[in-house]
């Protein structure tokens, strides 16, 4: 058991090491591309064609400048550095996403049970659940914010709702698969023990669905961050990393590094949320031989 | 033994001059597997075996006696630790690269995404045979295993016994001199099994192929084989070789003949002797 956690920790550490290596390689690629652009005057070597992406400092600031921008003041006339500002905004997003994830997962779990136990629901509702994920959220977000505003709620509530809207789906799909995963021999055992639907659900289907739940939660975590960011983008008010990206994209021409820094922080927010879940997963499934 | 009805150009080359040379020859083969804790396990010890062309040889023994390993060594899927292996007069590796043998596993191992015919074509496709020739050859082989009418079905539309017959047709597609079978009927029910045993004998007679057949069923070995090689476990050794004197061609009636029961008894005794040696 302890060694299982130790092995998991080792795996996580190794994964981070590799991620760092890949990020370093990407950074080298970035700077290499810039160097190539500088050397050839923005053209593909041997031809008169422009590089597909301009390599100047406007389009691709130096990595050092992006990192450096984090230590500069966020705005003229304030003391807070960009890093602190972005961290604060990311915290808002993180909170919205986490709450959205919790609400979305709970809804997703309930839906999965309903879909599993009712044939009509699975036939009648499932197609609409798939359709629900093709709705472009950016477009719906402002209206959800208006609804929230009418009800006298702050904008983060609406953002949380949007985040939950994207988060529930992967949970529903994964858990449904998990609930259906027990083998016939196990189902027949429950049947032979005269266990009813509720007991079969509690004793057999839920435990079997647990690894699937975590797999779904991981997808849902990414989705919830996307939902929160998109919600913030189109909410028109409130804070969060999505607003920070929008603001910095307005001021792109004067301070391009700021946009990159904001996008970087957004990426880190999503990754951190998923990794937090992974730790929870390896703790809950430590007694399973293989995680689904 | 009669020569194969048809031979591929490659086959003819292999058969020249050495017609009475053994189809398979193993000399002093040892196989040691590394085990946990730096130890090693002797899987096969001092294996010497000659198989004459056209023979039907069964490798019989309790589980863990290394009979599958021995087959895999002949097939060059596993290398022996020491010793030499020749197949059709060349090294096992050369024989594999020349596609000199067909191989059938306990699982049919058909490719889900190919029709029955295209599964049988697989070895020919790997060998670079033209499309038209491939199709004709596959159809011949499917007729041989009496599955011509399901050529366009997919494997998952067939029963287990039919899938295994497809696997046999696939193994025969290149018209090999040698057929290596690792418990090919082990996963089938008794009725299907007996039916396919009869079919296998018919195919063996029709093609003149040499067969090496791994099994742990005494009755199956006796009914099918010309020779039975009995192996002992840990380490795997050949303890006896029994020639089966039953007349050819064998029929269902032979399953109830006194000679059949005598041979079964003899083989069973030999097997019991093997088991008695082992410190249980």
């Amino acid at each position: 058991m302890g060694s299982g956690i130790g092995a998991a920790a080792l795996r996580t550490a190794r994964a981070f090491l590799w991620t760092a290596l890949v990020l370093l390689a990407l950074a080298a690629l970035w700077e290499g591309y810039k160097a190539l652009g500088d050397a050839t005057g923005g053209r593909i070597p041997g031809t008169g064609l422009d590089l597909p992406i301009a390599a100047d400092d406007q389009a691709m600031p130096h990595i050092a400048d992006i990192i450096g921008a984090l230590t500069e003041p966020a705005r003229r006339g304030t003391d807070t550095s960009l890093a602190v500002y972005l961290f604060n905004e990311a915290t808002i997003t993180f909170r919205e996403a986490l709450l959205g994830l919790a609400i979305g997962s709970a809804a997703g779990l309930l839906l999965a049970v309903g879909l599993r136990e009712s044939r009509f629901a699975s036939r009648g509702v499932m197609p609409w659940l798939i359709a629900s994920q093709t709705v472009p959220l950016v477009a719906v977000a402002p209206m959800v914010v208006i609804w929230g505003g009418k009800a006298g709620m702050p904008s983060w509530v609406a953002v949380t709702v949007l985040s939950a809207y994207l988060a529930f789906f992967p949970v529903t799909v994964s858990v449904l698969r998990g609930l259906n995963s027990p083998q016939p021999v196990h189902r027949e055992l429950m049947h032979a023990l005269a266990a009813g639907r509720v007991r079969t659900l509690l004793l057999l289907r839920f435990p079997a669905a647990l690894p699937f739940l975590f797999a779904g939660l991981r997808l849902a975590a990414t989705a919830s961050v996307v939902g929160a960011i998109v919600g913030e983008l189109s909410a028109g008010t409130g804070g969060g990393i999505g607003r920070a990206i929008l603001t910095s994209s307005y001021y792109y021409s004067s301070a391009p590094e700021n946009l990159y820094a904001a996008v970087l922080v957004a990426a880190v927010t999503g990754i951190v949320l998923v990794q937090v879940l992974r730790v929870g997963e390896s703790l809950s499934l430590r007694n399973r031989s293989t995680a689904g | 033994m009669t020569a194969p009805a048809t031979t591929t150009p490659r086959g003819t080359a292999a058969m020249t001059a050495t017609d009475d040379a053994p189809a398979i020859s193993l000399t002093d083969v040892h196989k040691v597997f590394p085990a946990s804790g730096g130890q090693s396990v002797a899987a096969l010890e001092r294996i010497g075996l000659d198989v004459r062309p056209g023979a039907f040889v069964s490798l019989l023994g309790p589980s863990g006696c290394g009979k599958s390993t021995l087959l895999r060594i002949i097939a060059d899927l596993t290398a022996p630790t020491t010793g030499t292996v020749t197949v059709g007069g060349r090294s096992a590796r050369e024989a594999r690269l020349a596609r000199d043998y067909g191989l059938v596993f306990q699982q049919a191992g058909l490719l889900d995404w190919r029709t029955v015919r295209r599964n049988v074509e697989l070895p020919l496709q790997v060998g670079g045979v033209s499309r038209a020739e491939r199709k004709a050859q596959a159809e011949t082989m499917l007729d041989l295993v009496r599955l011509g009418d399901v050529a366009d079905r997919f494997p998952w539309q067939l029963s287990g016994g039919m899938q295994q017959r497809v696997a046999i047709a696939r193994a025969l597609a290149c018209r090999p001199q040698l057929l290596l079978m690792d418990e090919p009927l082990g996963a089938l029910d008794e009725m299907t099994r007996e039916y396919l045993q009869g079919e296998l004998l018919r195919i063996w007679r029709d093609t003149g192929t040499t067969v090496v057949f791994v099994t742990h069923s005494v009755s199956e070995a006796v009914f099918l084989s010309t020779d039975i090689v009995i192996m002992s476990p840990r380490p795997g050794r050949i303890t006896r070789r029994i020639e089966v004197g039953l007349p050819q061609p064998r029929t269902v009636e032979d399953r109830t003949s006194p000679a059949y029961f005598e041979t079964v008894t003899e083989v069973r005794k030999a097997l019991h002797a093997v088991m008695a040696e082992e410190p249980a």
């Binding site: 994964a15 590799w18 991620t19 890949v22 389009a59 009509f120 009648g124 509702v125 499932m126 609409w128 798939i130 359709a131 994920q133 093709t134 709705v135 472009p136 959220l137 950016v138 477009a139 402002p142 209206m143 609804w147 698969r177 259906n180 995963s181 991981r218 996307v226 960011i229 998109v230 983008l233 990393i241 999505g242 990206i245 929008l246 946009l259 990159y260 957004a266 990426a267 999503g270 990754i271 998923v274 990794q275 | 899927l77 594999r96 690269l97 020349a98 596609r99 699982q107 191992g109 490719l111 889900d112 995404w113 190919r114 697989l122 070895p123 790997v126 399901v150 997919f154 539309q157 029963s159």
Partner: protein
């Protein structure tokens, strides 16, 4: 012993029977929505009624279709880019041997980053009105699921099949073409299906940050800014239909190209 495909009329009837509950639920929801809006007298800027939306859709159909075509082109380009690069990436990844595992983990981790956040950067790099900036975002949204799934498929090969190929003295090229690629096809489609709906959303978000004057995302954003909410919803509806249609097309290609997969047991992910 064998499963013959059902005759066309039976299949049609089966499809109708399967679709009936979904249609019933959809109709019930729309009806309830309509009743709710008329009964409570909600203002249209909060929630337009289905009839308003449908009317707006009919009025605006030429514009919406024209704009949707621009968006669809970007989506398709993005899917092609993401699908092909994901497939090539997976082939490359499996060739890398021991480091392919860690690299796949890195891809999974990077996949957790919200790709939509890259939309403004893509706009700055490739041009706000260029189709490439939109396709780039959509492509990234397709790339990761295709890469991760296809790599899993390429590695999820039955050892029996590999032994068979080895017994046939097959070259690595043969094993790739005859065993690994067909085996990974269902996995590839799984990734593509996940990416199909996401790519529409990606392009619309990207257009929200600025796009050509004729594009569905821009149309939706403009109508919302003008407080023409029935038209906004009509645009949203069109975008959803596009996402669903793409999903259906990919699923259709899948069932045609991967017929054996339908007969695999459930829970085999």
């Amino acid at each position: 012993m064998s499963i013959a495909p059902p005759a066309p009329p039976a299949r049609l009837r089966g499809a109708l029977a399967a679709g009936a509950p979904a249609l019933a639920v959809g109709a019930a929801v729309v009806l309830l929505w309509q009743l709710l809006v008329t009964a409570t007298g909600v203002q249209s800027f909060i929630l337009p009624s289905p009839t308003d939306i449908f009317g707006a859709l009919l009025d605006e159909l030429p514009t919406i279709l024209r704009d949707a075509r621009v968006t669809l082109a970007a989506v398709l380009l993005g899917m092609a880019l993401g699908g092909v690069s994901g497939l090539l990436g997976a082939l490359l990844l499996t060739r890398l041997g021991r480091i392919s595992g860690p690299l796949l983990t890195v891809a999974v981790i990077l996949n957790c980053a919200p790709v939509v956040a890259l939309a403004p950067i893509a706009n700055n790099w490739l041009g706000v009105t260029s189709i490439w900036s939109k396709a780039c975002v959509a492509g990234l949204m397709v790339f990761f699921p295709v890469l991760v799934n296809t790599t899993r498929g390429l590695r999820d090969v039955d050892t029996l099949h590999l032994e068979l190929m080895s017994a046939l003295a097959a070259r690595p090229r043969h094993t790739l073409l005859l065993v690994r690629l067909p085996r990974s096809l269902p996995f590839f489609f799984n990734g593509l299906r996940l990416g199909a709906a996401a790519s529409v959303i990606g392009v619309i978000v990207s257009e929200y940050f600025g796009g050509p004057s004729q594009a569905l995302g821009v149309y939706i954003a403009n109508q919302a800014a003008l407080s023409r909410f029935a038209e906004t919803w009509a645009g949203v509806l069109a975008a959803s239909v596009m996402g669903l249609a793409l999903f259906a097309v990919v699923a259709g290609c899948e069932s045609r190209l991967v017929p054996w997969q339908r007969h695999r047991h459930d829970g085999d992910t």
